[in-house]
């Protein structure tokens, strides 16, 4: 019940966006079964939101520790390049997946060490990998677009599991596992503690150092999964364009999910809903028949509206306004203020 209340704004927004799209495109909610797989715009959105949703999972944790991870888009390119390189080199499917995930974890470890051990601001620490990473990815692919034809690896991008597209299954499973890991154990609480006050949490006995590194590694892991999906989807690794600017979409998803950029309380489910909202807007604009040029402006407009509605200052003023309406004019005594 409490979870539902926390998620209410995001669910209402998602439903409103869906309703809006259905008004313009009546067939939006149609789902049919075709050749053992579900087909329909909604399924398509679930599939296409996979990279941003995966990134949003890791980003939520990083932002909860009062950090930010700008490098995830680049890590997608690196992991895609590593996977394609391994497949093209004949190393086999699972070796490729393992290497890609290893690369993601390594990238996360690098970021985590810079942030937690050396104490660099997260935005700068991850900016380093963001700038250098595309160069590294191009180094791996030698500046070309590495293509491969391995049907086993392509399954991660275009396959079907229980009638659902594999990318959708991957992000939903990852999200559920991560959310359970955070909420069924004390891990989530500790992450929040670091975000609210790292010093205090360290004094209270939280191993902030290890936890911070682990959080950045989780973000790297999510980026690696997204990288595998992206590379498998186009059956090739494009070091220049894979995951380009996805970090910004992921941060947006987290913020639309109502998570504060200043750390503390977080909700992975809300961030995932945020990712779905973004993808629904993207797909909806195309389905509704608007020229794709309008895509960004409409998106920016909707984002501003959502952010303004969630603005902390507006919320406070709304609260005081409601209270003053309910209680009548505030008493002139200073008793209320002294509290």
């Amino acid at each position: 019940m409490q979870t539902l209340r926390r998620l209410a704004p995001q669910i209402v927004t998602l439903l409103a966006v869906c309703l809006l799209v259905t008004l313009f495109f009546p067939g939006f909610l149609d789902i049919s079964m075709s050749g053992g797989r579900l087909v329909g715009p909604v399924i398509d959105i679930l599939k296409r939101s996979a990279p941003v949703a995966l990134l949003a999972i890791g980003m939520t944790l990083v932002i909860a520790t009062r950090g930010i991870d700008l490098s995830v888009g680049t890590v997608i390119a690196i992991c895609g390049a590593v996977a394609a390189w391994a497949i093209a080199g004949g190393m086999g499917l699972w070796a490729a997946v393992a290497l890609a995930i290893g690369a993601g974890l390594l990238a996360g470890l690098w970021n985590g060490v810079l942030v937690a051990v050396i104490g660099i601001q997260p935005i700068v620490a991850t900016l380093i990998l963001m700038t250098a990473g595309r160069g590294i990815a191009q180094l791996i692919t030698e500046g070309r677009i590495l293509t491969f034809t391995d049907p086993g690896f392509a399954w991660f991008g275009s396959g079907t599991l229980f009638g659902m597209p594999v990318p959708a299954v991957i992000w939903i499973v990852t999200g559920v596992v991560m959310a359970q890991l955070m909420r069924r154990t004390a891990l989530g609480l500790l992450v929040e503690a670091i975000g609210i006050n790292r010093r205090a949490s360290a004094l209270a006995g939280v191993n902030a150092l290890v936890l911070l590194i682990a959080v950045y590694m989780a973000s790297g892991l999510c980026a690696a999964l997204a990288g595998i999906i992206t590379a498998a989807d186009i059956r090739g690794a494009d070091a220049n364009n894979a995951g380009l600017w996805l970090e910004l979409d992921a941060i947006l998803a987290v913020v639309i999910g109502g998570n504060s950029l200043l750390g503390g309380r977080f909700s992975i489910a809300a961030a995932l809903l945020g990712a779905l909202i973004i993808q629904t807007i993207d797909t909806g604009i195309l389905l509704a028949g608007f020229p794709s040029e309008y895509n960004l402006v409409i998106k920016a407009g909707l984002v501003v509206i959502i952010l303004v509605l969630q603005s902390p200052r507006l919320a406070t003023e709304w609260y005081f306004w409601r209270r003053s309406v309910r209680e009548g004019p505030p008493p002139a005594t200073t008793k209320e203020h002294a509290r």
């Binding site: 250098a132 950029l261 402006v297 902390p312």
Partner: protein, 324 residues
Amino acid sequence: MNPRLLPLYATIAIFLVACVICYIQFPYMLSTRVLGNLLTDNAYLGIVAVGMTVVILSGGIDLSVGSVIAFSGVFIAVMLRDTGLPAPVVFVLLLIVTTAFGAAMGGLIHGLAMPPFIVTLAGMFLARGAAYMLTIDSVPIDDPFYEMLRKAYYLMPGKGRLTLIGMVMLLSFAVGMVIAHRTRFGASVYALGGGENTARLMGVQVGRTTVGIYAFSGFMAGLSGIVFSVYTGSGYPLATVGTELTAIAAVVIGGTLLTGGSGFVFGTFIGVMTMGLIQTYIVFDGTLSSWWTKIVIGGLLLLFIVLQKGLLRLTSARFSGGLA
């Protein structure tokens, strides 16, 4: 020695070392011709980095500038093509639009107490989207006035050409230095970077300053857009993607702390020149691939940040030692 100046000295030292390395390998690199090209090629980046420096000094960030540059190019190209307005009038209109855009973002940041990162991210989408709405094609600019701007240069000794846009960049840095270091607004910017609450207690008008900072960044992005359109001779909505991050990298390499409150506009100039020098070196070498630029810039970023961290620890250790 003033410890605040140390990052600036380190930046200048690294730039000089890079120059020496380049000179040893390619003696022709230290000619005024290369210098002229360096200034011309990095003019738009330098101008936008001036605005970014002021924003970062205040502890904020402006992610919208790359999109604003692209919007500016498209705006100018479309206005010149579809209306009979002379180019200078279009320039003035554009600068008004981009300055107002920046001011609006500053207003949102202050008025709604939202983080600059998110507000300018939305601004980035909006400006890029507005550019798409004007056109999705690359629009050439043929205007006699533009030809004149592009061909205008001052012949330096050694036959190097200091082009008009190179001069505009140098002028922007001069103006930026005066504004940041010699005006009341600049002092407010530094105070704000030191901490919003302290700044307010000191009597800084936080709202007005915040709006001013982002308006200045918007103005600089507009000016940079004009320079970029002169440089390329066209307007293209997909141009200058990611310039905001290059500009931030230049500011950081220039020795400005991303937390705000500490840094120099001149350092950013050296940062832009260092990044340009790396690119020039790769062009001169001919065998290195362009992706090495990114890796080297990433490495430089790391070097500077670790250096700053070390300096900061050193000075704070000295201060606390003095107190004890």
